[in-house]
């Protein structure tokens, strides 16, 4: 065994994160670590990587009991971690990030040698990177490639991926799988934390499931079907992932005509009607998020028109969009969705303080009732409205964000990657909320990079490619049809530039 974890325990303050973490990884194996948010996966891996010290239990590395007091010790033993949120230095180059802290003895850095080494390494991995690029200019996928290069250059024998594909597009995901397989074939052990059921079959050898801080299952992946896996993860049966009850569409609530914004968005025409959920697919960088931002007034459009509920809007700033009845559930909850240090109640009323205030004075009792109402309605798992929003799990945080927009009485909802980083159970509930919103007459535009999600939830599927709408498909269209529109030219069907050619 490369790595053995026995009965690992860890508490933070009074909160138990791990009760009994068990895991064994062989060399040359891709080991999937699964579980809902808050199950303890990240804590367990941070213990392996030396970022936390366990309160109890045993860690064996190549058969020897070990204790890592800090990440540097784990790294020198050969354990590296690719993080969910990049821990790179954005203002340094790719090469500098790869070799940081290992630039040879003495106070001086040989820039040329470092660049040469980095170039060799990148070529070796066949990554589309340049050694002298600034990391701040890289996509999330590019940043992960830099972290992988760093791990490989350290001579690591165990690589931990913490949800590597949660921020990646379909094609980038496949690229990560190729890399993972490549690393495995070289005899490295790989631990791979993931939420996404549909992608694991292609990469995993073995699977371990954590639930409520304890290992509840461990077996070769082939011995466990998806239903069984979900059962282990949530501790109950989940019948179908999701099913939608479509209603006949009503008035057009969001009408976009000839919208352009340099450099990306070109001639966008899109209508979303009351009661409709329109799915928007496309590769990362196709302009889906940019379109949401332009509709919401975060970015100003160069030309074209936007009408909400029949009224033309300038969309010059979010404030105007909010007042005209548009809600944007952004893809980056931590950055633009939630005030994590503030209470749940503060977050729920943030976009519509007027509803609980008169003459600038807040009615806190009303705020509390309102929050409890949404808690019940969206089944938010929380202790009290005064609890800090940042203490909730990802799924419940997302529900708080949705509550905030429900409180504004918005009619047009833009969901940008609404299920990113949230667990299976919560995903289903987010979809149920969307379904209910639509049935009550809201118009919903849902951007998602997870095709099964779009297939199951959307009534119509609009596909974007390189800043244009490349086509429209009925709900339930096949993944192949969607990907064709997302990747290829619509008419000629030929492959676009080399940079997108990673789809097999």
């Amino acid at each position: 065994m490369l790595l053995e974890l026995k009965d690992i325990r860890k508490t933070f303050g009074g909160v138990t994160a791990l009760r009994s973490g068990n895991l064994s990884v062989k060399p040359g194996e891709v080991h999937l670590l699964m579980g809902e948010n808050g199950a303890g996966k990240s804590t367990l891996m941070k213990i392996v990587a030396g970022m936390y010290q366990p309160d109890g239990g045993e860690i064996r590395w190549n058969g020897q009991p070990v204790q890592f007091a800090n990440p540097a010790q784990a790294a020198s033993a050969g354990i590296a971690m690719v993080h969910q949120e990049s821990l790179l230095f954005p203002h340094l180059t790719v090469a500098e990030n790869i070799y940081l802290g290992r630039t040879g003895s003495g106070p001086f850095v040989s820039r040329r040698q470092m660049l040469d080494n980095a170039r060799k390494l990148i070529e070796d991995q066949r990554f589309p990177l340049q050694a002298d690029w600034l990391v701040s200019k890289l996509s999330p996928a590019g940043k992960q490639m830099v972290e992988i290069c760093r791990a490989v250059s350290l001579g690591s024998s165990l690589l931990i991926f913490d949800e590597p594909t949660s921020s990646l597009s379909e094609s980038e995901t496949r690229e990560v799988f190729r890399i993972v397989k490549n690393l495995r074939d070289r005899g490295m052990g790989v631990i791979y934390i993931t939420h996404r059921l549909e992608e694991l079959r292609t990469v995993g050898d073995h699977v371990t499931v954590l639930r409520d801080g304890a290992t509840v299952h461990s077996s070769p992946l082939a011995e466990l079907d998806t239903q069984g896996l979900i059962r282990h993860m949530v501790g109950r049966e989940v019948a179908a992932l999701y099913s939608r009850t479509p209603v006949p569409p009503g008035e057009p609530l969001l009408v976009i005509e000839n919208l352009c914004r340099k450099p990306l968005l070109q001639n966008i025409n899109l209508t979303v009607r009351a009661g409709e959920i329109v799915g928007m697919a496309g590769l990362v960088g196709a302009g889906r998020t940019e379109l949401c931002r332009a509709i919401f007034g975060v970015d100003q459009r160069d030309s074209g028109s936007i009408a909400v509920c029949g009224q033309p809007v300038k969309a010059s700033e979010p404030r105007e969009a909010v007042q005209s009845g548009v809600a944007l559930i952004t893809e980056d909850r931590q950055k633009t969705g939630l005030a994590t240090q503030l209470s749940i109640a503060c977050n729920v009323t943030m976009a519509n303080l007027d509803s609980i205030s008169s003459y600038g004075t807040l009615d806190l009792k009303r705020e509390k009732t309102m929050t409890s109402g949404y808690q019940e309605k969206l089944r938010i798992k929380m202790n009290a409205p005064t609890q800090l929003a940042g203490r909730l799990s990802g799924g419940n945080q997302q529900k708080v964000v949705i509550s905030k927009w429900l409180a504004t009485g918005a009619k047009v909802f833009l969901f940008d990657e609404p299920t990113r980083g949230i667990d299976v159970g919560a995903k289903v509930e987010v979809f149920q909320v969307m379904d209910e919103l639509a049935r009550n007459g809201a118009a919903i535009l849902m951007v998602s990079s997870e095709l099964p999600e779009i297939q199951q939830v959307a009534d119509r599927i609009v596909v974007m490619r390189q800043g244009r709408i490349s086509g429209e498909l009925p709900g339930g269209a096949s993944q192949e049809d969607i990907m064709r529109l997302a990747v290829f030219e619509t008419e000629s069907g030929r492959m676009p530039g080399e940079d997108e050619g990673t789809i097999q």
Binding site: F12, K335, C346, S357, T361
Partner: protein
């Protein structure tokens, strides 16, 4: 929970130990002195609390205090009535705060930089118009503001209590206060939620300016002159009071009660050192250490909690 109460326990401990250590501490006269000495910093710190909650900072309050106090005193010298002079002081302070807020929100420059610049601008302006000389033609009656009593307690204590209650109300029960927390905790999320960020930020700096103007008139009354060099280093004392009281420079945190406790801890440290005959130069070291200890304890408390 215990650590949340720590500033309060520190204040009590300090109070009790000083009462035991020296017979001169627990007297009406001395306690009134402490209140009068700390009131000015305390009132400025209330405005600073609001600013720090928005994750901003105001380094120019000491300079604003000097300008407002000088112009207020100058008005009395020129024959204006005392209420009129006080009004002038408040207006000058508010205007300076508005300018700060305006520069921060319109030019989108970091508050640290803006107020550092304004510190120089305002201080230099005060020295220029005064030629470095204080305005001293202040009527006798003006001393009432700083030294007067109401119902047996110093008038400044009443003023402080009214300001503190008002600021507490603003922070906890008004849209302005709530938006301040939202902006300080996550400015992007606030902007996306349609919060009028620029308007409220400007308002926040104006309120801090108004409170500084009030503190300036109390200081002028205490000194019975308008000193163009008054208020040097007050900005740091005000920031220290907020931070000792549990406010976070990262924004989104801060309470009026905490700030009051923070200011009084510093006041007692200073007063106690005087009474115990500790070298006044050493007092600065003591207060400096108090800041570091307070912030360290607060950080430790936060680190023990899971993310």
């Amino acid at each position: 929970m215990l650590q949340r109460l720590l500033p309060f326990l520190t204040l009590i401990t300090l109070f009790v130990s000083l009462s035991i250590a020296t017979p001169n501490f627990l007297t009406h006269l001395n306690l009134s002195t402490v209140v009068r000495q700390t009131a000015v910093i305390n009132i400025i710190a209330l405005g600073m609390t609001l600013i720090i909650v928005t994750s901003g900072i105001d380094l120019s309050v000491g300079a604003i205090l000097a300008l407002s106090g000088f112009l207020g005193a100058k008005a009395m010298e020129a024959g204006y009535s005392i209420p009129m002079a006080i009004l002038i002081g408040l207006t000058v302070g508010t205007t300076c705060g508005l300018i700060n807020g305006f520069l921060i929100t319109r030019l989108k420059i970091n508050p640290f930089i803006v107020t550092l610049g304004m510190l120089g601008v305002i201080r230099g302006m005060t020295l220029t118009i005064s030629n470095g000389l204080p305005a001293s033609g202040v009527p006798e009656g003006f001393s009432f503001l700083a030294t007067g009593t109401l119902l047996g307690l110093p008038l400044v204590l009443w003023i402080l209590v009214v300001c503190a209650v008002a600021m507490h109300f603003v922070l906890e029960y008004t849209k302005l206060g709530r938006y301040a927390f939202a902006i300080g905790s996550n400015p992007d999320a606030a902007y996306y939620a349609g919060v009028p960020v620029s308007f409220h930020l400007t308002f926040v700096y104006a309120i801090a300016g108004l409170l500084t103007g009030l503190a300036a008139m109390i200081e002028a009354s205490r000194l019975m002159t308008g000193q163009p060099t008054a208020g040097q280093g007050y900005e740091l004392q005000a920031i220290a009071a907020v931070v000792i009281g549990g406010g976070s420079l990262r924004g989104g945190e801060g309470t009026v009660l905490g700030t009051l406790i923070g200011a009084f801890i510093m006041g007692l440290l200073s007063n106690g050192s005087d009474l115990l005959g500790i070298n006044p130069y050493l007092q600065q070291t003591l207060i400096g250490l108090a800041i570091i200890v307070a912030v360290t304890l607060d950080e430790l408390r936060k680190r023990r909690l899971p993310k």
